[in-house]
């Protein structure tokens, strides 16, 4: 009897028709061929950190947790082929053995790298694109049951601009070629100050530092500024804030934080110039209406724009604002009330987090939406890799 599958926060639970954890590509092929024969739908589960129903499937759910190899390392080009079952933490550690590094990570490193790439997951830094920008090749089990290798040189930029953020709807990637950086070190400094001082100096903080974000604490109107730079670079002193934490080391060890408190999250990606105004509006509403029950912080980050068809950062430098609430607490009244504010400021929802948008609303946010759908249709004409959520709420096909 298949087990109940639950995401990290516990807000998403379902029982798949079948749950397979193949140990090899041959075992994966066998499971997929059986599903294709039965005309079943197939979805891939990652680490389960996402809280949107991308993985929910009444047919076959595949976990690639055994696909953890790092191979074909090219030190000169700083590329490597990375198994899609590696978490960001595991991948970062293995790549460090080859003196390579991801350019960035999210706030946590528990996600599978493949899941983070497919959903446009990101860290912070106005010059740094989201994690999907690393993808330049992949080995993929396609909808016809064949494994093929795709690279940007062979298949073209347009194809990869569709592939990078594709929500696992093109096929099942077993390995990814990633464009990396030579391993590097970072210094993390965290500072506490009042929100008004942060907002007064926001542009400077964003542009002076490699990685900058801030947490706003709704219950006391203070913020924590989180700044990471290569040693000796960036903002060193902040006259209006006091330093509460310092840490240095390899980027992969310093970029992510550890979180033991589980939460659910809504995040929207906005044009960078809309960030401060949107944040002020969110802050006002939370203070006036929600902080009786909401104590979790709001996170403000920046990301460089990209060309990827359905990346939330497509075509514009971006600010993301994310709401958090304790797992197990009611969340949707809070999230639903703030969501229109994000929408009014031109926001696009994070694919892996809570949102209530329907296809007509989502498609209007992405100028290249139709191009994405066309390439996806070519890759998966029968919709093998679509669940009900993707088919109805996201793509309306």
């Amino acid at each position: 009897m298949p087990e109940v599958w639950s995401n990290w926060s516990g807000s998403l639970k379902f029982t798949p028709g079948d749950l397979k954890t193949p140990g090899s590509e041959d075992e994966l092929l066998e499971a997929v061929h059986k599903a294709l024969e039965k005309e079943q739908k197939i979805r891939v589960a990652g680490a389960g950190h996402s809280s949107s129903p991308l993985v929910v499937n009444k047919d076959l759910v595949v976990s690639l947790g055994h696909f953890k190899k790092v191979e074909r390392v090219d030190a000169e080009q700083s590329t490597a082929w990375v198994g899609t079952g590696l978490t960001v933490k595991e991948g970062g550690s293995k790549l460090l053995e080859h003196n390579l590094s991801f350019h960035n990570t999210g706030d946590v490193d528990v996600q599978y790298v493949a899941g983070a790439i497919s959903t446009g997951t990101h860290g912070t830094g106005i010059t740094l694109q989201n994690l999907s920008s690393m993808l330049t090749g992949c080995r993929m089990l396609c909808a016809d049951g064949q494994i093929r290798e795709f690279t940007e040189e062979k298949n073209g930029k347009d194809f990869f601009d569709a592939m990078r953020v594709s929500l696992g709807t093109m096929g099942i990637m077993t390995s990814m070629r990633l464009k990396l950086l030579p391993a590097f070190k970072l210094e993390r400094k965290e500072w506490c100050t009042h929100t008004d001082d942060c907002l007064d100096n926001l542009e400077e903080l964003i542009h002076e530092n490699r990685n900058f974000d801030f947490y706003w604490y709704p219950r006391n109107d203070e913020v924590k500024l989180r700044i990471l730079n290569e040693p000796g670079k960036g903002t060193q002193q902040i006259r209006y804030a006091h330093c509460v934490e310092e840490k240095s080391g390899w980027a992969i060890d310093v970029l992510p934080k550890e979180r033991d408190l589980k939460f659910d999250e809504m995040e929207y990606a906005l044009p960078v110039e809309a960030g401060p105004g949107c944040f002020r509006e969110v802050r006002k509403i939370v203070r006036e209406k929600f902080r009786k029950n909401v104590a979790w912080r709001v996170l403000y980050r920046t990301i460089a724009g990209d060309d990827f068809y359905i990346s939330p950062c497509s075509g514009r430098d971006t600010v993301t604002i994310s709401l958090h609430q304790n797992a197990g607490f009611p969340i949707m009244e809070y999230f639903r009330d703030i969501e229109p504010v994000f929408r009014n400021f031109g926001g696009r929802p994070h694919w892996g987090k809570k949102h209530t948008l329907q296809s007509t609303e989502i498609s209007s946010l992405y100028p290249k939406w139709k191009y994405f759908l066309k390439i996806r249709q070519q890759m998966d004409p029968e919709g093998v890799f679509l669940n009900e959520h993707l088919k109805k709420q996201i793509f309306d096909i």
Partner: protein
């Protein structure tokens, strides 16, 4: 030498107003505890919040180093759940080392600042 303080402290009268006036955090309506550990050893302190209707909530332990104070704003407790504002509650503080606990309330809901501090009830 006998250590000073108690290992269990009780505060029955918690209530954090929703409204406040003035710039935060200085003028935030809040309940706060100050924990003083005048002994040498670090104290591990557990806070449990009791409500009128709901189940009690036990919070993640915090450390208070020897010969140090630690101030905790009840508004900021979050793990596993936030303390709900505008709701009556009581506090139990349990420590593995003797400590001394003071309870402070600030209500800035009115234009004139109101502040009150009192000793918690200590017991072993």
């Amino acid at each position: 030498m006998e250590k000073t303080g108690s290992k269990k402290w009780i505060i029955p009268g918690g209530y954090i107003p929703f409204n406040g006036t003035g710039q935060e955090p200085a003028f935030l309506s809040q309940d706060r505890i100050s924990i003083l550990n005048i002994n040498k050893d670090t104290a591990t302190v557990r806070i449990t919040i009791f409500y009128r209707e709901e189940e009690a909530v036990e919070y993640a332990p915090v450390k208070v180093k020897g010969r140090r104070i630690r101030k905790i704003r009840i508004n900021d407790l979050i793990n596993p759940f936030p303390v709900i504002l505008e709701k009556e509650y009581g506090i139990m503080i349990e420590s593995d080392e003797p400590v001394v606990v003071q309870f402070i309330k600030i209500n800035t809901g009115q234009n004139s600042l109101a502040l009150m501090g009192t000793m918690a009830f200590g017991t072993d």
